[in-house]
Each structure stands twice: as structure tokens, then as C-alpha cells.
Amino acid sequence: MSKHHVTTTINGEPTEYLCEAQQTMLDVLRDELGLTGSKEGCSSGDCGACTIILDGSIVCSCLMLGVEAEGRTVQTIEGIADGEKLHPVQQKFLEHAALQCGFCTPGLIVAAKALLDTTLNPTEEEARYWLAGNLCRCTGYDKVLRAVMDAAAEMRGEASA
């Protein structure tokens, strides 16, 4: 069983790798490419810790095969900051202390960033539904929501709450 040669774009960089058909995108990111920011929580698409952005949509990288990335555009938590400059969502997670153990944080930040790519005016209810696929077992959801809503306000050019 030969390996598949995949040519794709990850965090803006043209990327090539070899993978076996049964390797998930999460396996490829972590084990082949050393991008260990995406986490493996449940491996069944329930927890969202492995969330990536695939051609503009968030998906669970544990429910996608590495070979499926051929010709696609992938963004991971490693590509959310602009060099040393944190994305507003990342900055607000720090300011609001919106994390405890941190395991769910990469997935939450990627999912929240994707929400703010689609709208800078989410209602809190919309943000809660959007993030319902990201589980935090420290149950720190309230601070997460405050951070996301504050990041949206900042990106709209409003003064910080």
C-alpha cells in the first residue's frame, strides 16, 4: 500500500507531504508536519479540540483524511497570529483569562476566528451556537464568550468593554 503524495496550502505556505490513506488530517498535522497546536480530544467529532479551517469552513480534522487536503487551503491554530502579533481573539482570550487547562483553547480560537471572518456583529446567542461544537471540560464558557464578544467589538473599532 503506497503512500499518497499530497500538495496543499497550510497557513499560507505551499506544503507537500506523504501520508497513508487511513491517516486523519489531525494525524498528518501533528505527526508528519509537527503542527501540534491542534489537539486530539475525542476522535469522534464531538469536542472540537482539533478544529481547523478548510477552504473557509471549520471542520474537525479528526474526521477528515489527510489525503483529502489535496489542492485545498488549510488554516490551523499556528496560522492565526500574524507573526508575533496575536489575532484579536487570541489577545482577548489572554485579557479575559478565557482558559484554564488550555486543551480546548486552540480549537476554540480557530472556531471563534472563523465566526468573526463571517460576521463582526454576532449576537451572544449566535456565538454560543457557533461554538457549541467546542467542549471545555473546565467549563470556562462564560469567559470564552466574553472574550469572543470583546474581540468582535474591537474588530468593529469599538472601545474595549
Binding site: 487511513q22 467529532g45 478548510l54 469552513s57 474526521l63 477528515m64 472563523a114
Partner: protein, 289 residues
């Protein structure tokens, strides 16, 4: 996960060829949100995975004359974003949109939900209630069958070796026709239906029902078209007597199991309650157009 072969054909003919020619079990990959979980758990051990998403037309929604043509692998997020479809059949979009999280919506498809063949599949009742058909490609060419003819039991379909769903054909609504879908779960999000119900009704100008389909999910081995529930609606306005007849017909059609989500008695009672609520929404929408 165990070793497997992977093909990503770029035409329907090529896909049929690799599916039909597979030495062992071949599985079609659309969004993969069920398939990959089953691979990892060891419940399925396919020799070949055939990814259909590179085939032109498998992802996308077109309007062709009096129908919508929905590519089999079109993800749920794309259904929700399609304004004409959402306006025509809000119930179909509601059902598909209830499947999983935003992440799952980025991948999960109508064909995957139908062919995974769970009795609790959320997108299926409203699709059947709209009298949608599916176009199936296979070694003997193409055939078109009603959506309800695909699932034959939990995890089982009528598709033969080498066959796969290419697209869904959903007729556009007639005057004063609309649909709705609700499912009951013990919380607000991210669960599997205890009962699901899709209702599609056509009214006359005075609000009397002239045609109806009532479809229940999660109360039998497959999705159930409840003929007697449709009969309870046709010829009537939505008064209490009609709702009571609908409720009774829906309950009578249930052959559920008891599991952690609900007992036989509970599911049966909920089926009647849901049928009432969904019919009320469908009637209101149909009357408003």
C-alpha cells in the same frame, strides 16, 4: 486506524468503476462525519474508500425548472446558506442544520445522512416529506428512486455494489405548500433525536389541507411515512379535532425501541406531540405564502 485504500475519482463513470471493481468492502466518502467514526471504532473495515467530492456536481445546489438539484455530498452549511432553498423548504434546511456542530455542518451531507441509514437521521424526514428523489449511478447506468426507498433498516440501504447517490431532486413547492421539521432531544443542541418529525402540507386558498405528508424519525427501524396522519390532515383545517386525529395516527405508527434516550412509551407519546407542533408550523407557513 486500520489500513485502507483511497480513490478520489473525478467522474461518475470512474467512481462506478472503482466501486464496482473493489475486491472487498468499498465505502463512499462524502463528509465522513459518520464514516470516519465507524472506521476508528472498528465497526467498519472497508478495503477501499471512494471520495466522491472531486466529481463535478457532487457539491452544489442548482435550480432546474420546477426542482432543486442538490449534489449528494453538499455540506449542511451550504444548504443553510442557499436562500432560495431555505425559502422554498425551510423544513429540509432545519433538519439538515440540526446535525451536529458548526464543524460537522462544514462536512456532513444529505447523501451521507441518508446512506448511514440511522432511523434518527435528522435530514431525512423532511426530504421524504417533500417527495424528493435520488439519482443513483451504478454499473447498469442511472436510476431515480424516491428518497424513502434508500434506507431498508438500521445501517442498511437498497444500493447495490458499485452504486452511489449522485444527486437529490427536490420538487419546488406549489402555491400554499410548505414544510417544517422538529426533533425532540433532552437538551438544546448536539444530540440524537428521541423523535423527529417532518410535515409537508399543501392548502387551498381557504386554509383547508389538500395534500400532506407526515414523516417520523427514530420511532421505527427506518423513517416512517404515516399515511393515516396525512389522511387526518387532508380535507381539514387545523382545528383541535384534526390535531387530535393527527396525534393518534402518529402514535399508532410508532414501533420504537427503549434505549438511554427514551422508552417505547415516551417515544410514542412524544411522536404525537411533535406531529401536532410541526403540523402547526407547516400550516402557518403554507398559509402565509
Amino acid at each position: 486506524m486500520p489500513r485502507v485504500n483511497y480513490e478520489a475519482p473525478t467522474s461518475v463513470d470512474e467512481a462506478v468503476k472503482v466501486l464496482a471493481g473493489a475486491a472487498g468492502l468499498a465505502k463512499v466518502l462524502s463528509g465522513g462525519t459518520d464514516l470516519l467514526v465507524q472506521l476508528r471504532s472498528g465497526r467498519l473495515k472497508p478495503d477501499l474508500i471512494v471520495d466522491t467530492k472531486r466529481i463535478p456536481g457532487l457539491i452544489g445546489i442548482k435550480e432546474e425548472g420546477d426542482k432543486f438539484v442538490i449534489g449528494a455530498a453538499t455540506p449542511g452549511a451550504m444548504l443553510s446558506d442557499h436562500q432560495a432553498l431555505e425559502h422554498a423548504w425551510p423544513g429540509i434546511v432545519e433538519g439538515a442544520d440540526l446535525i451536529g456542530s458548526t464543524q460537522i455542518q462544514g462536512r456532513a451531507s444529505l447523501a451521507g445522512n441518508l446512506c448511514n441509514a440511522s432511523p434518527a437521521a435528522d435530514s431525512v424526514p423532511a426530504v421524504i416529506a417533500a417527495r424528493a428523489t435520488v439519482v443513483i449511478a451504478g454499473p447498469a447506468g442511472r436510476r431515480e428512486i424516491p428518497a424513502e426507498a434508500v434506507c431498508t433498516g438500521p445501517g442498511r440501504t437498497s444500493l447495490a455494489k458499485g452504486e452511489f447517490i449522485v444527486e437529490f431532486h427536490v420538487p419546488k413547492p406549489k402555491a400554499h405548500q410548505c414544510d417544517a421539521y422538529l426533533r425532540f432531544i433532552p437538551r438544546t443542541e448536539m444530540d440524537i433525536a428521541v423523535v423527529g418529525c417532518g410535515v409537508n402540507v399543501t392548502l387551498d386558498a381557504g386554509g383547508t389541507c389538500t395534500d400532506a405528508r407526515v414523516v417520523l424519525g427514530a420511532v421505527a427501524p427506518t423513517t416512517v411515512i404515516v399515511e393515516d396522519a396525512a389522511k387526518a390532515l387532508i380535507g381539514h383545517k387545523l382545528d383541535e379535532a384534526t390535531l387530535a386525529a393527527l396525534d393518534a395516527a402518529a402514535q399508532k405508527a410508532c414501533k420504537p425501541i427503549t434505549d438511554k434516550r427514551g422508552t417505547i412509551e415516551y417515544r410514542t407519546k412524544i411522536a404525537g406531540v411533535l406531529a401536532r407542533r410541526v403540523a402547526a408550523i407547516a400550516f402557518e407557513r403554507a398559509a402565509a405564502r
